[in-house]
Each structure stands twice: as structure tokens, then as C-alpha cells.
Amino acid sequence: MAYDYAPFPYTPPPGLTRPEPRHPVVIVGAGPIGLAMAIDLAQRGTASVVLDDNNVVSVGSRAICWAKRTLEIFDRLGVGERMLAKGVTWKVGRNFHGENQVYAFDLLPEPGHKYPAFINLQQYYVEQYLAERAAEFPDLIDLRFLNKVTNHSDHGDHATLDITTPDGDYTVEADYYLACDGAGSATRKRMNLPFNGQTFEEHFLIVDVEMETSPFGSDDTPERWFWFNPPFHSGQSALLHKQPDNIYRIDLQLGPDTDPKEEATEAKVIPRIKAIVGDTPFRLDWMSVYKFRCAKLDRFVHNRVIFVGDSAHVVSPFGARGGNGGIQDVDNLGWKLAAVLQGNAREPLLESYNIERVHGSAENIINSSRATNFMTPKSPIEALFRDQVLKLATEHPFACKLINSGRLSQPCNLSASPLQTPGAALVPPGTALIDAPLHDGQDQTWLLTATHGNFTLITASPMTLPDIAGIARIGINQSADYPCYRATDGHAETRYGTDKIYLLRPDGHVCAVFDTPAPAAIIAARDRALGAMI
């Protein structure tokens, strides 16, 4: 069944008839990033207006691979469990050369995590779930469809936006303007900001087909299959993923010299699919021919205008680092912006969003560019090395590690950021929380769920955690006058050790570790994480 694209309702905004009071936050773009941003802020009590020039969710599946860290962030935003229930869970990737498998990898070989390595779920479902979640905050999220921003300007302590609607034009003021308007960001273009990087000449065909028979074989275990020089598509590469509703994503490399208009036709696409699936009946659900580039802004924070997601950085799709990188932006910015707007931190804290996410997106761009270069050799010598790596890999484990069909999205490490207090531990400062199963005597829960959204001290040691205003506490394998849990199967002790206290930031990154429960050091680390050193 094809997805039913129900339009979101448009209502004439109040600004058409009378000036609106200045909004703390205006978010431009109601894709996954803009919607997640609004929900994160709303959960922290900060109101936003979300503007979008369209009124339906993403057409086509687009971003489908959602990584474990993203799902953990979505858990905090209240849509993670729904995504997990609907999505196709996978963790194994297989690389083939011709007909033969050369290397397989398991992205999450250990148990004891709430979320799997990856789920595949069409972007339209993710946007639908986020839009429905946003609707649960009617006083804090004002979603305005068919509201197109035509101009904006920064006035130092606020920004103004000119907006056009089916009923006319109006203007709003915002303390902060969050540009979540995607890869082609009109905001970025209006500001003439350089968006430099590497453009790849290869065309890729991306097709979603619906079919009953699984191409993953008789036991139908969904995995990520990548072919170098597949028997059905000679001399190129191919990628296969499963999505919900019996929809399969097929990516085919087409080479640089191809006519994208001609390729994106049923006459050209159907024979290509038949070469893969044979006589199995299928329905074409969506297709697109594209080239891609890896590029980013030099800075994501431009005074009152802040770029989030694809507007700030774009990558090739191999590695699932686009949407997943954008959600990490949201996770990083939400608590900081709320803290600044609510007077709990000074404005320089926002500079740490710039530092940390420019670093994160640079990491994504390096990984995604390297994968693309390996997949699409640009000269005979590059092709020679690539092919010899694939040959060696059938016999030698070291060469398997050189095969690069995409280094899949990992949580970004923020250890070099000025918000972290340096220290050593099993989960060192800068690392995103590592989940572990817990139980409270009656119910099973997760460290992830127990620590959402605030500065939190956790320990699996016998030390009693001090009571500090504004810092939550979680004890593992102890009893105290704050929430305490037992570790299930010893995972929490193994992952965190039994001799440390950890301080988590509101986005679940460890920002400091302690050997003793001395409040002064903990308060200093918390203040540092709120920007005291910037």
C-alpha cells in the first residue's frame, strides 16, 4: 500500500490581522529536524513557532536509516518506541564483490540496549509521528503550514521574518531564528554564506519497490547488503535495504555520464529492478536520480540565526549520516537554547553548539567522503587498489577493514569541547551515554529512560550522590533517598565500573567523572557544561 499523504491543515496566522508579540524561537522548516527541535524545546518549556512552505510530510522515503543514538534521542522526544515498533530492525551489513560475500559486520553484537543498531523507517512516517507528537504541545508549538519565509534580517538582539501565506503577507519577530530549511536552505542563500565541499560526479538511482517476496532470501532477515560490481549491475555498485510495509530500497550507481531525466523513467527503471528480483511481482513506489555532495557551513551560529541539520551540512547517503547528524544537532542545541532563553546560562553557551556540531559534521563529512571515494574510484589506479582490497579481503582479515561501503553513523565524541571537564573513566567525558538495562524491583527499565533531559549524576558505586539543586540523581545497586535501580545482568557495572560518579549533560553526554562525591567539583563541572569557560 502506498503511503497516504494527508495534508496538514492551514489556518490563517494571527500576524495577518495584528502584530504578534515577539516569539522566543521561530523554526523555519517542518521536516524531521524542525519538528524535533520544536518538541525538544517544548519539553523544556520553551515555546516556538514552526513555519513551513509546504503542507505534507516528505514525499518519498528519503532518509530511512535511523541509528541507535538517534533513536535514543527520539526516545527522549517521545517518539522512539513508536518508531521502533513500526521500523525494520537490523544490525548486520554484508559486502559482496560480484556474487560472493567478502565481509559481513555486526553493528551491535552485545545485548542489553533498549534500541538496536539501526531501524529503517521511511522519513514520511518519522515526520508524521513527530507532527503528532508536536500536536501534544498546543500551548508551546505553533505549527504553521503554507507559511513561506520570503526574507529575514538580524537586528542584533532579535531577528525579523517576512512571511507569505495564501491569505497575504505578515512579519514576525523572534529572539532566535532556527534555520531547519534543509539542504537547499533559502536562509543560507539569502545570507550568501559559503557552503563549500566536495561534489561527486556519479549519478545514483534510488528506487523504492513494494513486493511480497523478500530479496533477503528464505529466512528474510533484514540486513544492509552492498555490492561492488554486482552480477545484476555490472561495473557499478548497489545497495539494498528493507523498509516497513514490504518496501525495499535499492540504490544503484549509474556512473557520471548518464541522463538523469531519462534514467528516472519506468522504461529505464523496471528492467534494472527485474535484473535484481527476477520475475517477482513488484510495484514501483518512488524513484529519484541524484548526485550528491559533502559540504558544510564554516559556522552554524550567526548571531540570532542558527543553522540546524541539512541547512548547515550535507553528506552523501552512504553511512546514514545526514538525518542522524541533524538529530544530533537538535539534541545538542535544545537544552542550550532553552537554558539561555530561561536565564539559566549566558548566550556564549550557544557558541558551544557551534564548536561541537561543526566538529561532529566535519567527522560525518570525512567518513562519508571516504566511503564515496572508495565506492566510486575516479581513476584506473583508484579502481585497481579498490579491486585488490576486495580480492585480499576474501583471505585476509586486515583487508576487510579497508572495504568501505559506508561507515555507519556513530554518536559523535565531544571530548575536545570546552564544556567537558577532562577525566578518565570507562565512559570518558564527551561520550554519549551508553545504555544499560535496569530494574526497580518491579519493572524493567533502561538507564537511557531514567536519565532523560536533565543534568544527572549516575553511579554504580557505593558512594551516596550529593543533593545539588538542578541536578538529578540515579543510583545503581544502592539504596538512597533518590531513584535507585538494580542493574540487570551486570551490564551497568560492566559499562560504567563501580568506582566512579558520572555527570551527564541534559543531552546525555558525559561531561565529567569523579572519584568522590564532593559537591564543589560537581558544581564546577556543571557550571563549566553551562558555558562558564567559554
Binding site: 585497481l384 587498489f385 579491486d387 585488490q388 582490497v389 583487508a399
Partner: protein, 64 residues
């Protein structure tokens, strides 16, 4: 940069063995063998700083 000798008395034997490894191969097969050798040697060296140093040394010798 200058690379000191580490093969010592085995230098001639190594060079001979390298030539033997290429004996009877077409140019294309020899190029492929060399590519595999580079990859295998790199793994044996196993130190990125050292490898970058060696890559630079080899690149510097390229005649225009």
C-alpha cells in the same frame, strides 16, 4: 627525508625475491601485485604516522 637501510645483507635477496614475484606476469598483473603488496606492507607496518612518512618519501622521488 632520508630512509636508512634496515635490510642489511638481505638487500639483494629481497630485491631478487621481489623480481621473482613478478616473473611471468603481464603488466596488468604486476600492477595488481604491487597494489596488493602496498596494502599488505602497510598492514605489517601498522603505524599511520610512519606510513604517512613513507608515502611522502616515495612521493618526493616522483620525477616530473
Amino acid at each position: 627525508m632520508i630512509l636508512d637501510d634496515t635490510l642489511g645483507l638481505d638487500a639483494d635477496s629481497f630485491y631478487n625475491a621481489l623480481m621473482d614475484a613478478h616473473a611471468g606476469l603481464t603488466d596488468a598483473q604486476s600492477h595488481a601485485l604491487n597494489a596488493r603488496l602496498v596494502l599488505i606492507f602497510a598492514n605489517e607496518i601498522g603505524d599511520l604516522d610512519r606510513l604517512e612518512h613513507l608515502l611522502a618519501a616515495a612521493r618526493q622521488t616522483t620525477t616530473p
